[in-house]
Subunit: 238 residues, 2 copies
């Protein structure tokens, strides 16, 4: 079994990145240059680059070039008290979360079920995107019961934190009740939103938050870049 051509260049570049011969943000040679240097076809070069892009090691940008990725994989802790900012800021990342759109819709079946509402009840839908050091890492939407939280998205945008927003509705504490995670290929729009290569998969995280007595107050569905996140869970009470 002889070594395949494309794995040679993949491993060479991968080593160059790990060892620091290529550092974050550096531009790689063009595909044609790599093909010439390694004396292989451009198809093989592209295959190697795709493989590296899928692992988040490089970023391929049409018309510009190929660059060593500069975003470290961030750790996101899921737990009973999942809080975005407490979670990500300690890693030295500049984390921001931006409201993309807010609307009022009749609840899709899964949402109604999660929030214990009648099928088709009115809910608010807030779409948000989360960036770490200006690079998107996740985006998705949160649903709230429209009757109880009529202007959740707007208040959240003004107050700057989910915890504060709930407080403004008289809810002093809330906990994560349920989380599910699975992996799938990214849709083209998702790859674009996350500014990642179309072949990088995404992790779909569905969650339900509730008040401490167990009443569900929100459900969310967030698409994470699989190459840029690492989930951890502590199963104690914290």
């Amino acid at each position: 079994m002889t070594r395949e051509n494309w794995t040679i260049i993949r491993d060479t570049l991968s080593d160059d990145i790990r060892s620091g011969r290529l550092s974050a943000g550096d531009q790689l040679p063009t595909e044609t240059q790599l093909a010439d240097r390694f004396e292989i076809g451009r198809h093989s070069v592209r295959r190697a680059l795709e493989s590296l892009a899928r692992d988040g090691k490089i970023s391929i940008e049409q018309g510009r070039g190929t660059f060593v990725a500069d975003a470290p994989r961030l750790t996101y802790q899921i737990g009973k008290r999942t809080r975005l900012h407490r979670n990500l800021i300690p890693q030295g990342l500049d984390v921001t979360s931006r409201l993309v759109s807010a609307s009022r819709v009749s609840a899709p079946d899964e949402v109604a079920k999660a929030l214990l509402l009648n099928s088709g009840a009115q809910v608010t839908k807030s779409q948000r995107i989360t960036l770490a050091n200006d690079l998107p890492v996740a985006f998705g939407c949160v649903y709230h019961c429209a009757e109880r939280f009529p202007d959740f998205a707007e208040r959240r945008d003004v107050l700057g934190s989910t915890t504060e927003t709930y407080r403004s509705f008289g809810i002093t504490d809330y906990v994560r009740q349920h989380t599910s995670i699975f992996s799938r290929a990214a849709k083209p729009e998702e790859a674009k939103t996350l500014k990642q290569h179309p072949d990088v998969p995404v992790l779909v995280v569905t969650a339900i938050d509730a008040t401490p007595d167990g009443t569900p107050i929100s459900t969310s569905r967030v698409i994470w870049s699989a190459a840029r996140v690492n989930f951890t869970m502590e199963h104690s009470d914290g």
Copy 2:
């Protein structure tokens, strides 16, 4: 922006599978036949098939052909009391777990740290593979302190369950203390072990189990097929 060729065949086949026009286990036309039928090149066909394989919808086997996947995505519940069999049997899947190898090694740094042992302490390493309906879904290894659990792997193999094995060591209860999950591309051997297409990513799950008083008793590192699993977590105490 016109539609790309390869996405047409991907979506056509994907629809055929969803609608039941192609059912589990069916053999797809050969790549050449598909290229002829859709009047596109074989490269585009292969690209579409790879995309479907990455999502676990089909299984591509060199020398045999391409088949509609017949394994449903299983749900694995992670929680304070994670138990393999209680977890997977209710889904109507025939779940088996087989010991691949057992050995005694000096603990790698991460293992020593997780088990609160001195660096280089002796630990037992059991490698196991888990199958659902005879198809591999995960494989990995569990480490135990060699002093406290000298023959864990062998006892586990005889007794048939982890819970029973711990009981034989005088431990009547244990809980999941910590879990972490991230996604990466599969290594070629991993793809082979999981009998999956080389481009399907894997989810790496690292965990620490402990007695209820918080003393760690084992740490594990399990590679899951990203296309065949869906993790869920309940954050209550159960």
